[in-house]
Point group: C2
Chain length 375, copies 2
């Protein structure tokens, strides 16, 4: 039961809580398509299962899986995880799932964004995406949450909020003509206000180098608490990421949030740079028409910013032995009240994203524990 | 999340409540296969939607549907009904769904029976049935109920209980060698005790004439409250149903329930007899190998006993203008505290069952309203 509403979240007094506010749970999808996940998706499935297990230590996790993979997913996932049948075209719950909004009375609803596979028929990553486009509705049916249908294209990974009125995004993605060519910056800001309850947008420029999402914010920079963000960073001036991160840093230092605060920026070291190996490409099915070809030597959009903030844990990608430990130490300092769990996630990265991209939190309808909403 | 338990319900203090005890909700499946539901299942889908709408007036209803039919089912079902993706081989939730059991502390668990499509490869109704065999697990995952896996074949429509220790069934079905050839009557009684918490079994003989389930009890006779049953009946001695119903009546009059009570038997008039028309057969796809062929002139196993007892309603099949009104009046007398709603259900009957067969109640974990548990 999920009624389609014809009003808007802001009009009804709803807002999107920050990821670091308390959760009722977390949704994921199960990776399966052999043209995006090598070796029949078995290595990726192990990584997804490890992510689910880590998050499930602090909140209920539900994994949606196709009928074909139900028995296998049920066997590979820990018993503490709920497995439900839910078809999709790939496994990016952050981008195809609903964005949950809450109001002061404790009601929870979902926003069902337009979805065009990160760029539509010409520039998108695969075709068709009809099952992805239904995922938000199906999640909201299971959750029993009413649904707002947003009249524009947006992926959950393209936005971050502080829960106090501020939204963080990138121009590269939101202003990309392959998403909403009919909308300009000002019109998008109005729609983001209407559908997420935010009052102020901080625009960064480009996302991480060679990020096939057209520069999703969730791979570049995220709120870690009100007034503080984490940013992927390199000191190597010859790396194209240097200019991107520097530009983001400068914009962040100039920005004010919705409450007028300056931002504190935590830099996380960039792993690698990492590249796709010939062996990794050999394990893929050839992509069909409209699919995104993978080639050996491709630079991978690796970033430690792509972590998930759970109720009691922060689940972060382990990507590069040279930088993993430093990134984990920094994250543990940023989140002293949560346990940082690293999950080897190169197999997720090979598919085009990372831990944040494959998760979607369900906020608690009523805040339960103050300390979990940040200091 | 649904743990597999290695104990048994009776050993853990669980029992199956009667259908007339309070419900937390009801599960159904969506009819789709065009070799069993004529005209692409559209008429049956309308009938199923009407059943769901009627039950939803008194309890939450969830309908499981394949990914192919999700959008259509969502559009045809009322907004008050929850629709979740759930593959199956056909739409008989009574027989493929879990049987729920509860304990005194208010916990609810599910029994996942063996299933062989009403008779296995030789005598069953279709092949394969691999998706049906997963339905109970999937329902229990969504419900978050732990699972007992029963080590024998049983369909939910083959049993009725009074919630006070008594189980009603038929020899034609339970002792049929196409189900559990390795088990005799005594062994089955022990297993029924172990998995449903019953202490006494009342065996009737045959089920309704030409019932392709091998005589499921839920088309012949059911408990309407402790100590009282409804039985399908005809006074026409030339009709083969006469001897079957008379035999059942005589056994019921001789029986005692688990508490030593004699039974009161309410007779419900038999509709028809009804037969499949050439036009109805013409609307079917030809069944594949292992499928049950349908022919014009087939006698349909029509019975008013195949109703669903909801929290506030009794949803009964309307099958024959000559008898519908009398049957409805009798049912309303039997259930004065519930509203009897008739749903035209010949389209369900054509598929091989009726309203009880397509539903499965989820008992309330804690009894809420005494008056709903019967007088």
């Amino acid at each position: 039961m999920s009624r389609l509403l014809t009003t808007t979240p802001a009009g009804d007094g709803f807002r999107m809580p920050a990821e670091f506010e308390p959760h009722a749970g977390c949704w994921m999808l199960w990776p399966e398509r052999p043209d995006n996940w090598r070796l029949g998706a078995k290595p990726a499935q192990q990584a997804f299962a490890a992510v689910a297990a880590a998050i499930a230590t602090g909140e209920p996790v539900t994994v949606g899986v196709s009928g074909r993979q139900f028995v296998n997913a049920r066997a590979m996932l820990p018993e503490t995880v709920r497995v439900v049948e839910l078809s999709s075209d790939d496994a990016w719950m952050r981008d195809v799932g609903p964005t949950f909004v809450v109001d002061r009375r404790g009601e929870r609803r979902g926003v069902d964004w337009g979805f065009n596979a990160w760029g539509g028929i010409a520039g998108g990553l695969y075709f068709p995406w009809d099952q992805d486009a239904l995922v938000a509705r199906k999640v909201l049916e299971v959750e029993g949450c009413d649904r707002y249908r947003a009249p524009f294209v947006l992926e959950g990974g393209a936005i971050h909020v502080d829960g106090q009125g501020t939204l963080l995004t990138t121009e590269e993605c939101l202003l990309n003509p392959n998403r909403n060519p009919q909308l300009d910056r000002g019109q998008l800001e109005i729609l983001l206000h209407e559908y997420l309850g935010v009052t102020h947008v901080i625009w960064l420029g480009k996302g991480v180098v060679d990020d096939e999402t057209d520069g999703h914010i969730d791979n570049l920079c995220c709120f870690v608490r009100p007034g503080e963000v984490a940013l992927t960073w390199t000191d190597d001036k010859r790396d194209p990421q240097y200019r991107i991160s520097l530009d983001a840093y400068e914009r962040l230092m100039e920005a004010r949030d919705a409450r007028g605060r300056r931002l504190k920026v935590h830099k996380l070291p960039q792993p690698g740079p990492l590249h796709r190996t010939p062996e990794e490409v050999a394990g893929l099915d050839v992509a069909g028409e409209g699919g995104h070809a993978r080639a050996a030597g491709d630079r991978l959009a690796a970033s430690y910013v792509n972590f998930y903030i759970g109720n009691s844990v922060v689940v972060m990608p382990l990507l590069d032995p040279k930088t993993d430990r430093l990134a984990a130490r920094r994250l543990q300092r940023i989140f002293p009240e949560r346990r940082v769990i690293g999950v080897p996630s190169r197999e997720i990265l090979l598919g085009g994203g990372n831990i944040h991209c494959i998760t979607q939190q369900v906020p608690a309808a009523r805040p339960r524990r103050r300390k979990e909403t940040g200091p």
